[in-house]
Amino acid sequence: MDSTTQAVAAIPRLVADELEAPPLTLRQLTWRRFRRHKMALFGVVMLVMLFVYAFGGALFVSEAEANYTQTAARLRAPSAAHPFGTDTVGRDILKRTIYGGQISLLIGLIAMLVELVAGILIGAVAGYYGGKPDSLLMRFTEAAFVIPQIFLLIVMAKFFGGKIPNLTVFGRSFSGSVVVVILIIGLTSWMYLARIVRAEFISLKEREFILAARATGTPALQIIFGHILPNCMAPIIVSATLAVAAAILAESYISFLGLGVQAPTATWGNMLQAASSDFSKIQNAPWFWAFPGLFIVLTVLSINFVGDGLRDALDPRSRAV
């Protein structure tokens, strides 16, 4: 006994070198790379500010104030009382951009979620099972892909238009068209993501750790969601980020054509539509369209920066820190 303990004590042990840094996890690696991308950081800061403006602003400005019409004060230029001016019925544009911002940002986020769910489900099932389901789903995806999104948006907006009544959530009442817009944007943008997910699944499902999981009898659902999916998060995250930007843009396009969210619920997109509905407004009241437009540009720009940064940070090809 004594000699064994002594022998064990004699084995040289590895002592943590104080100068040597602990190995980095993947998350820390990603964050470090992201931090170096200055534009992406700027994007994050901008986005935080925008969210604070839209959601935090609601603490200072009530919804009733945002909807308060005062027709005698219509179309006033920016002034101390109305920093962004007023619209055609005298509502303050600053307050409306706050509440409009909430809806626009929410639409962007939730549409992205719808798209994510649809895309991941379809891509995963097609990629994992292969064969007939894959063929069928891919034909379906291709069919949806072939028609340009703006056409589908217009047709679907008219299809669902006016069918959903007004809803009241958290004490605020929304026009039912918000749900319609979220649905149609989500339902017309999942195709690209489905393809990416399917490609990842096809390549990952032949790996050994998946074979091992199957050999030990893990149910398919757990393999899909517990094993394969976490390993292809990188392209999904990037895709999801950029999808928010695309959704916000899509909402503004469809509102511009008059088929988006209906009054009196404001969004940045339908404020732009109201502002460009006749020439005198374009010409004489540029504040009416410039401010919502600016907000849309800033939001989409920041999201694009962040997405760019994430793409570089998560790119497995460049392992350099």
Binding site: M39, R139, F140, E142, A143, V146, I147, P148, I150, F151, I154, V155, M156, K158, F159, A245, L249, S252, Y253, F256, L257, L272, S276, I282, Q283, P286, W289, G293, I296, V297, V300, L301, N304, F305
Partner: protein, 343 residues
Amino acid sequence: MGRYIARRLLQAIPLLFIISIGLFVLMQNLGDPLATMGGRMPTRSADRERLKRQLGLDKPVLVQYLYWLIGNNWTETDLDGDGIAETPGTRKGVLRGDFGISLVNRKPVLQVIGERLPATLLLMGAYEIVVIVGALVVGIYSAVRQYSALDHAVTGISFVLYSMPIFFIGLLSIYVFAVSFQRWGLPSLPPNGMFDPQVGKTPSQVALHMILPVLSLALISLAGYSRYIRSTMLEVLHQDYIRTAKSKGLERRYILLVHALKNAALPIVTIVGLDLPTLLGGAIVTERIFAWPGMGRLFLDHVERVDVAVVMAILMLVSVAVIVFQLLTDIAYAWLDPRIRYD
């Protein structure tokens, strides 16, 4: 290669069927085509009933789809409302080349589309040229002068432009170049239409009116594609064979234009191949802002009047174009890059 093409084309047929059925069903709930036939007043009830019968809108959806697809000149329709079908139909159906009659002005659908197609092709053609040339120039220059001031300027502006909705750029350009220029006494660009009818449809008029819409459209795409070309070029320029060429003493410009450019061809094919067919549908929003009489406006106008025949024809046309161009793009890829093989 021939078998690959044949296989793709065969696969396209069921795809087109699925698309046409899906779209047709969507069409049914777009609204009532008879609703606006009363002009400024709601349509009278007696007229509604009669028109529904005469236009074949009282039949169930599947029957209407069937008539759309293979016509109705093999059966009889009841035109005078007595319940007995006595008049033979006159339609031959899409499969025989008859896309039907527009509900709006009773013109054959192909004629309606044919009248607007050239205007769209013109706009899109100009747009493609501007984007290709512009993206090449900007992309290559940025790649060659990576990290220079111009590169960063271009990157910054690209991002901003890329994030703008098209109508915002359109509005800004109208505001600046049409309204403000006129206000400041500078020669201004016309904000809408295809030509000034007092002068007539001359090439110079059309060119002048094309400037603002093409510019607005092109700026956004330019931003995206120039970055794409820039990154492709960067990849290429760091390859070993370029270094070899440089060390051989070949002139810079020769290296760029001959070696590097060939490799930039692939992104160009992507741009043209995948972008073009969607533009066949017209840039809907741009045409709306600038009053360009193209397919986009046609689509919007006829969707508003729920003119199923025209809307279906446009969507099918665009779908076919997308499928064909996807195939052409893949073939072009194989031709340009011998490493790509299809079985």
